[in-house]
Symmetry: C3
Subunit: 332 residues, 3 copies
Amino acid sequence: MSAALPARDLQLDTTGRLKHFLTIEGLRRELLERIMDTAESFSSVTEQTVKKVPLLRGKTVVNLFFETSTRTRTTFELAAKRLSADVLNVNIATSATSKGESLLDTIRNIEAMHVDMFVVRHAESGAAHFIARHVAPHVSVINAGDGRHAHPTQAMLDMFTIRKLKGGFENLTVAIVGDILHSRVARSEIHALNILGAKEVRVIGPRTLLPAAVESLGVVTCHDLDEGLEAVDVVIMLRLQKERMSGAFIPSEHEYFARFGLTGKRLSRARPDAIVMHPGPVNRGVEIDSEVADGHRSVILQQVTHGIAIRMAIMSMAMRPDREGQSGDRLA
Amino acid sequence: MSAALPARDLQLDTTGRLKHFLTIEGLRRELLERIMDTAESFSSVTEQTVKKVPLLRGKTVVNLFFETSTRTRTTFELAAKRLSADVLNVNIATSATSKGESLLDTIRNIEAMHVDMFVVRHAESGAAHFIARHVAPHVSVINAGDGRHAHPTQAMLDMFTIRKLKGGFENLTVAIVGDILHSRVARSEIHALNILGAKEVRVIGPRTLLPAAVESLGVVTCHDLDEGLEAVDVVIMLRLQKERMSGAFIPSEHEYFARFGLTGKRLSRARPDAIVMHPGPVNRGVEIDSEVADGHRSVILQQVTHGIAIRMAIMSMAMRPDREGQSGDRLA
Amino acid sequence: MSAALPARDLQLDTTGRLKHFLTIEGLRRELLERIMDTAESFSSVTEQTVKKVPLLRGKTVVNLFFETSTRTRTTFELAAKRLSADVLNVNIATSATSKGESLLDTIRNIEAMHVDMFVVRHAESGAAHFIARHVAPHVSVINAGDGRHAHPTQAMLDMFTIRKLKGGFENLTVAIVGDILHSRVARSEIHALNILGAKEVRVIGPRTLLPAAVESLGVVTCHDLDEGLEAVDVVIMLRLQKERMSGAFIPSEHEYFARFGLTGKRLSRARPDAIVMHPGPVNRGVEIDSEVADGHRSVILQQVTHGIAIRMAIMSMAMRPDREGQSGDRLA
């Protein structure tokens, strides 16, 4: 498979089914809907007394984390274990690469142990794609966040949360607020909302934190939070990635909160039934007021719960043990 | 549930059954006996060829360690795996809190993944109680050591060891020797021994290492080891917590051993069938002579073995999958 | 069991069956063949859809790593999980020994939790033997690399690879190239090849990297790579252990490659059907050219795959749940 192929082709096998999950961009609406339908069936798994299904018994999932992220690693580990897969956590920062082994040699080696899936987190954009292009035919790759590029499972759990609470996307106005520039979450959400047919996607933030030509992604931009929240159905607050920013982007956290922090007062501009989302972890008093984060419109913890079901859905669809047997879920 | 409620109420559900296991203080003798009876039934599990029971299959146990303790974490991990639970190890020191997330946000997030139990180790007294007060109704909390306050599973495995070897507590004189002041183990043991009806509990140590007014806990104090060991049935040596002490408490390890180190000669003051216990890891030549630690009266390794059975008992009682179905183990 | 007993006796139980796997030296050909036959039966396990057998269900394997090695630890963890054992990873460098506990106390403690196997990696030669001499009768010990002494599971996976590709050993000339002096892998391979009846074992390297009197191990030595590769059937390249070498052994990596690096041109001296092996991780351009490492004669990744099957074989033979029941595999 050539590096020149677009990501959509890389993500689907020759029959049109999910093989790798690297980016939302270029995927079809039917596939995103099917992921959410599958997650719906797993939602009940996490609520029943015995929370395990034997779907991936005997399969081996490798969490290949080049960046530490206990939170994300934990959700994938739990999702895999609830599908009865074996899980290996490999922290590459402290591993073979320190012996001078190349990324590709590391992948080839772990792959030779007959593993079935790599869940990849990497600080560089494109890392998961690179790995997906080079793995053996039987191995699936899930992007668990690459640089500023994409975080597609986070976007899908957000879509799943919106669908469960709003019923659909057609009539929705969704605001994404904050540091769009550095956010792989925002990029993946914008693609997903457009593919799923949201009425309007607004990105709201200071000029320094919006990418140039962001409108080309299919969004409306706004630099004033009060104005931007007018009549929206869904507010997605982004985490202020302090560790990624130099002082040049914002004058101070205090001033940032004064201009772009979500307060109860500001939220009153949105529709009365608007929901508030955040990918976590929350910086209370920086991008969001505690009163809102813990308030009755906040669905932040539901997002976490849905994250397990969505990851179970994506993992089981990509590793489908009955890949040959079934054809019902083919995207013709 | 209010923070003002006493711990006993926090630990039991409305029908009087174990829900959280945070401290020995305030628990009833019947409950401690039931924990030991349940451990007895698991004792055989660790000796049979297949060491697994499916009691907690599909349940998720999270080891939430804010202090590193490979030894304690390992015993809980093994106990959970032998009950067929899934185990997640989360080392919080290196995790989300470093991104500025509060303890409560961390708990809420992991809890939202539908986990069933937190095993908590924390350097601050009261941490496990705090978490137990704030978790969702379906989640149980086990205290795996909080500051100087309590280490109730260690105390229970010690009680289990005593009961197995001495048959009961009524006629026993038990000496606890060493750094009582800094020891959460000692505090939990004193409560357990008194609840279980030991004839006498003696605490032996230099004045600088005994808490003020320790007699109010129901113990006899003694500052001379030879005198204190006179006719005791059980000697519990504490670890000298070097890392917690400044030079002010003891002049030197050498002098400490000369005054409070357990030697064969000193042990001859105890009853001929006295047993010697230690929570580990042992500082040989500091609080105990190797000859005694490895001698025929030492039951130190039996304590370790019993630790698995006791933790299996407490975990399965607190997470009881048949919580609604059964009433036989209700403490009326 | 006395420390004076030779390793062979330590490794076999009184009926002649495998109990510990510490070194190849002194083992009988029948046992090595049986390990490979057993691995053959597990080879299919790693290729079928559900890659698990319930052979060691309920058994507990402890990876006791005193040296970090993600790669080796991973292969043992995967092998144990595919046998359905529970796995505990204990990194001793960061654990109890930092509290001043002795190695023996650490072993005794973990053993008291009724574990069934220690997989030991240690920087000092003899560490696994020492542990095997002191564990309880029901515990097996596998040497996963000790100092410069032995790495017997690596040697066995190499033998398994050679047997699969060459059919046997009788007519083979095998060259081992590189840093023989510091290599536990080389030492174990030399013993295995001689026991299995290889026609000739050549060790090739600069004088500074060959042990004194290496010929006594049953090898032919050679200081010129071109000459040494003449008509060989198998070339085993060793990793240049940069971290173990001071500048005194080789002038520079560049010069080392010029004299002892395996290139396509040099490989043409070997038989037309010669295979190239390497224990990994490969230093491309230091001991081997990328063209050769990735070429059609390289079986480096097959070695990794075989490593899982060989470790499953050794673990299941040593922990044999039917130790009492069967006698068919006794080595009389």
